[in-house]
Structure formats: structure tokens, C-alpha cells
């Protein structure tokens, strides 16, 4: 955990030095060439490799994500392969974290009886910046962003796992249904 941040610090230092050089000449001549996220394994142990993985981004539409996920979980649309999924995992990072949680909360109310495990972690994003002046070297930056990974399962999960939440009791889910009606009210 400390190692990537150390790297980030050093690369930040170099980049700020170069930025100063650039601003001295009156322009910032850097362009982001690529942005790669590390493809780290799921922080939740014991997940199948072919599990449905919903990657929630900052600009993702909740209705699109949920339409897809509920169809695979509940089979309303009777999709082609016909098998209903027992588990789904949602991940999101940075400003997408809030949206991820909102998706999970709505899906839990819609499907009902879902067991949940949530994990928090830092995600490393590698950015390559390229100078637009010919001959000047590019910069590689490593940034860490907070991220969340949530597993929803129809089958019971290990209650000893940190971040485990049992499904809400039926009384609550009834209240949840009323809430969801309320949330359909138009907003200004």
C-alpha cells in the first residue's frame, strides 16, 4: 500500500518540476496519452472467473446498468442463454463509488433476499503524459483512487467475511417497496 504512493509522490515531484518549466515558457504542453487501470483480481476471495462484473463509471447511467443486471438476475426478458445468474459483482472507483452503491441498493430492493459483501481498496491508475514539444520526454504518473467492490449473491455467503451484510428482513423490504414508489416522484 505504501509502495505505489511512494512512486506517486516521486512522479508527482518530477511532473510538477516539468510543469513549472512549462509555465515559465507560458504554456502547458502536456497531453494525456493513455490511462490504464491495473487489472487487479477481485478483493473478495472465492469468486468465479466468469462472474457477471458490472463496472460502474462516473458517466454510467443507472437505468442502463440496472436494466442489464436485473434481466440477468430475474430473467424478465428471458435472455438467450436462459440461465439466471446467482451472483453479480459491482465495482466503481473515484467519483463512481456513490453511483455503485446506489445501483446496489436499488438492485437489492428490486430482487430481494440478496446477501452482500463490500470491500474497499485503493486502485492504481497509470497515466502517461506526453509533451507536445518535440524532443521533450513524456511523464508517467501513478495515482491511487479509492474504489469499492460489492458482491451480491442469492446464495448465502460467509458471515465471518468482513463487510458482510445479510439480506434485509421482509418487513424492511416492504418498506423499501414503498420507498421505491416515492422515488419515482418527479424531481424539480
Amino acid at each position: 500500500m505504501t509502495e505505489p504512493r511512494g512512486q506517486m509522490k516521486s512522479s508527482n515531484a518530477t511532473s510538477s518540476a516539468v510543469m513549472e518549466l512549462q509555465s515559465a515558457s507560458g504554456q502547458s504542453n502536456f497531453r494525456r496519452v493513455s490511462r490504464t487501470e491495473d487489472s487487479s483480481p477481485y478483493p473478495i476471495p472465492g469468486l468465479a472467473a466468469d462472474i457477471l462484473h458490472m463496472r460502474v463509471k462516473e458517466g454510467s447511467k443507472i437505468r442502463n446498468l440496472l436494466r442489464f443486471a436485473t434481466a440477468r438476475m430475474q430473467g424478465e426478458g428471458k435472455d438467450s442463454n436462459g440461465t439466471l445468474l446467482r451472483q453479480v459483482v459491482f465495482t466503481g472507483s473515484g467519483r463512481g463509488v456513490t453511483k455503485t452503491i446506489t445501483c446496489v441498493e436499488i438492485l437489492k430492493r428490486k430482487v430481494g433476499g440478496l446477501h452482500q459483501v463490500s470491500k474497499l481498496y485503493y486502485k492504481t491508475v497509470k497515466e502517461v503524459w506526453e509533451s507536445q514539444q518535440p524532443g521533450a520526454p513524456g511523464i508517467t504518473m501513478q495515482r491511487t483512487v479509492p474504489a469499492i467492490c460489492i458482491l451480491l449473491s442469492k446464495d448465502p455467503l460467509d458471515p465471518q467475511e468482513t463487510g458482510y451484510q445479510p439480506p434485509p428482513n421482509p418487513k424492511c423490504s416492504h418498506r423499501g417497496r414503498r420507498e421505491s414508489v416515492c422515488s419515482q416522484l418527479p424531481s424539480p
Partner: protein, 152 residues
């Protein structure tokens, strides 16, 4: 608006609602309303509960958590965040964990919080009636704790 704030006032014009799919049960005439956001429902507060907000300085809130765990002698604290403050709550929890060299563990739970808005007619002569509107917002509750040495 995703973050809770003190019941400030903001003037809005309630334009006629889209007349397409929504049922006309909550049809509103274009009277001026004042939207007042009530504070979130008061939640239980123990000594080791920290409610994170977006107004207080980040470092101050982080320092407060560190003080509770190190000086305050608590084995576990609970960091709560609502709406926009979810990100900050996660950040605080991860920072605490990183600075403890792996001694601290995190257990995150998510929930939905019901929030109430008051709609008050701007002009008392108009026929507009005071209304309330309920909406939901997501929340996170992170338990930051030293795991028991004798196992779970």
C-alpha cells in the same frame, strides 16, 4: 444535490411535470415553491461514531479518527458517510488503514437513507399547499477495527 445540508433555502420554479409516462397524481401548477431540505434523520451517536461531512476540513476529520483509535483507546470506530460524503468516508477509512501498517481492518456496509424535502408556496395568496417530498440517498458505514488476536 446529493449531499445533506442544513435546511437552507433555494428558490425553484416548479414547471409543469412531464405529462408523458408519470401518473398525474402529483401534477403541480406552476406556482413558485421554496424547496427546503430537512436535515437527515438524527442517527444514534456513540463516542466512537464519526459522521463525515463535506464542510469540515478533510485532515481535521482524519485526525479526529486517528485520535479516537490511538489516544481514545477505542478498539473500533464507525465512519459514516451520506451521499457525496461517501467518497470522503472511504478515503478516511483507507488512509487510517494505510497508516496503521495493516493493523486495522475495514468492514463496509451500505444502506439507503430516506430524506424529506419540504415544499412551501412562495406566495401565500396562491392556492399552493405546503407539500413534502421523499427521496432516497445512499450511505456507507465503515467499521474500522483492530481484529481480535484469537481469531474470529
Amino acid at each position: 444535490m446529493t449531499e445533506p445540508r442544513s435546511p437552507g433555502m433555494s428558490s425553484i420554479q416548479t414547471a409543469p411535470v412531464h405529462a408523458d409516462s408519470t401518473p398525474p397524481a402529483v401534477e403541480m401548477d406552476p406556482v413558485e415553491y421554496t424547496l427546503r431540505k430537512r436535515l437527515p434523520r438524527k442517527l444514534p451517536k456513540r463516542r466512537n461514531d464519526v459522521y463525515v461531512n463535506m464542510k469540515t476540513d478533510f485532515r481535521a476529520q482524519l485526525a479526529r479518527c486517528q485520535k479516537l483509535l490511538e489516544g481514545g483507546g477505542h478498539r473500533e470506530i464507525c465512519v459514516h458517510g451520506l451521499g457525496l460524503a461517501i467518497n470522503r468516508a472511504i478515503n478516511i477509512a483507507l488512509q487510517l488503514q494505510a497508516s496503521s501498517q495493516g493493523a486495522l481492518q475495514l468492514a463496509a456496509n451500505t444502506s439507503t437513507v430516506e430524506l424529506v424535502d419540504d415544499l412551501e408556496p412562495e406566495d401565500p395568496d396562491e392556492a399552493g399547499e405546503p407539500m413534502t417530498r421523499t427521496r432516497n440517498n445512499s450511505a456507507i458505514h465503515i467499521k474500522v477495527f483492530y481484529p481480535d488476536p484469537q481469531g474470529p
